[in-house]
């Protein structure tokens, strides 16, 4: 395998992607629409967090959700059941979303009529970290059952995100997850990251998370 050739191609893909991401960012700015890129491992609770967020905020802000999956549309059906617009992107094998895919999804909605867009990326702690899509913020979810050692193994994802949502804190009692160790490991990689500790089962921390998101959307809209 010719490593150098591979790296060059990757660089050119990333730079094409960045150009389109910049264009999307400008477009969102003109429409005063806020966009969030939500990333996590499979099963960390991205869809549940989005649904709980919508239940608390959909009466105050006009949302659209872009669902990225390799296959299936189970998540966008769950979003639609909340009465919120959902665009399903099926990547057909690709392990992350990129700016061209998101551009295609955005072209199907009327940005002027929206306050906020949440992109649920493909479940993957590795590849999505490298692709900007013109989002205002990158947010990752880490669930308690995944363990407190993940920042050691997937440092790029923890480094590029503005916010870490620790999910499934209701599992803490049944686990040896060390929250202090996690916070210390994450902060060493990314001193300015915001951390929210949440459970969609008990509701813990969701009001803090939604308050942060509200401030973010307001800042983009004004």
């Amino acid at each position: 395998m010719d490593k150098v050739r591979l790296i060059n191609i990757k660089e050119s893909i990333l730079s094409d992607n960045r150009d389109l991401a910049d264009q999307i960012k400008l477009e969102l700015g003109r429409s005063k629409a806020y966009m969030l890129n939500l990333m996590a491992s499979p099963g960390a609770g991205k869809t549940s967090l989005i649904i709980e967020t919508l239940r608390r905020m959909k009466n105050d802000y006009r949302f659209a959700i872009i669902e990225g999956d390799i296959e299936s549309q189970v998540d966008s059906e769950k979003i639609a059941a909340e009465g919120v617009a959902a665009v399903q992107l099926q990547t057909g094998g690709a392990c992350h979303l990129d700016a061209p895919m998101v551009k295609k999804a955005l072209d199907t909605v009327d940005l002027e009529s929206l306050d906020a867009i949440i992109i649920e990326n493909v479940g993957n702690l590795v590849c999505p970290a490298e692709f900007d899509m013109g989002e205002s913020r990158k947010v990752m979810v880490l669930s308690v059952p995944e363990g407190d050692d993940k920042p050691l193994k997937y440092p790029l994802m923890f480094s590029v995100c503005d916010v870490l949502v620790v999910s499934k804190t209701d599992y803490l009692d049944n686990s040896d997850f060390d929250m202090d160790a996690l916070v210390e490991r994450v902060s060493r990689l990314n001193p300015s990251i915001r951390i929210f500790k949440t459970s969609c089962k008990t509701g813990e921390g969701l009001d803090h998370w939604c308050a942060w998101l509200k401030d973010e959307i307001e800042a983009a809209v004004l």
Copy 2:
């Protein structure tokens, strides 16, 4: 982004990879060493499964473990603490192991002195599914907290694996995970897959899993 160009390159990488994987397979066959490729999401419990397997089997068989991680060597330190040889592969960003990486790891061990090699792949339910590495079997771990809908979203991984180890069954009581729905979804994708239901906390199912692995190793050694 030029999709056609990208696909061609991917094809050539995959075909180079396959050639080397075939070569590794021949080499393992000559040395009568069994090799297992263990894949899962981050935090599904791959390392815990390996450690519990070693505790039950290391007195009867000579193991080596290849640990694939983007960064860190926490897992290979855990393996070494069990008195078993561990080779840490740091991919430095790459989201999966491939045959060239595994070849490098195998070149550091004496295959003739080994009965079984377990490769712990990078935590990722997507990309590792595409790369053969000359292994005898592909095994995936899915943890209960990840949810029973994962076969719908990551069908390739469930399709290419010979065995599914459902882990963390001790979480079942605290979860809406539907085991029957999981088994039905997996079987539809892959009717011949073997499924083991396990918990490294309670020990459930580990004897069945180890009995299967014992048969596999014996068949390769004889």
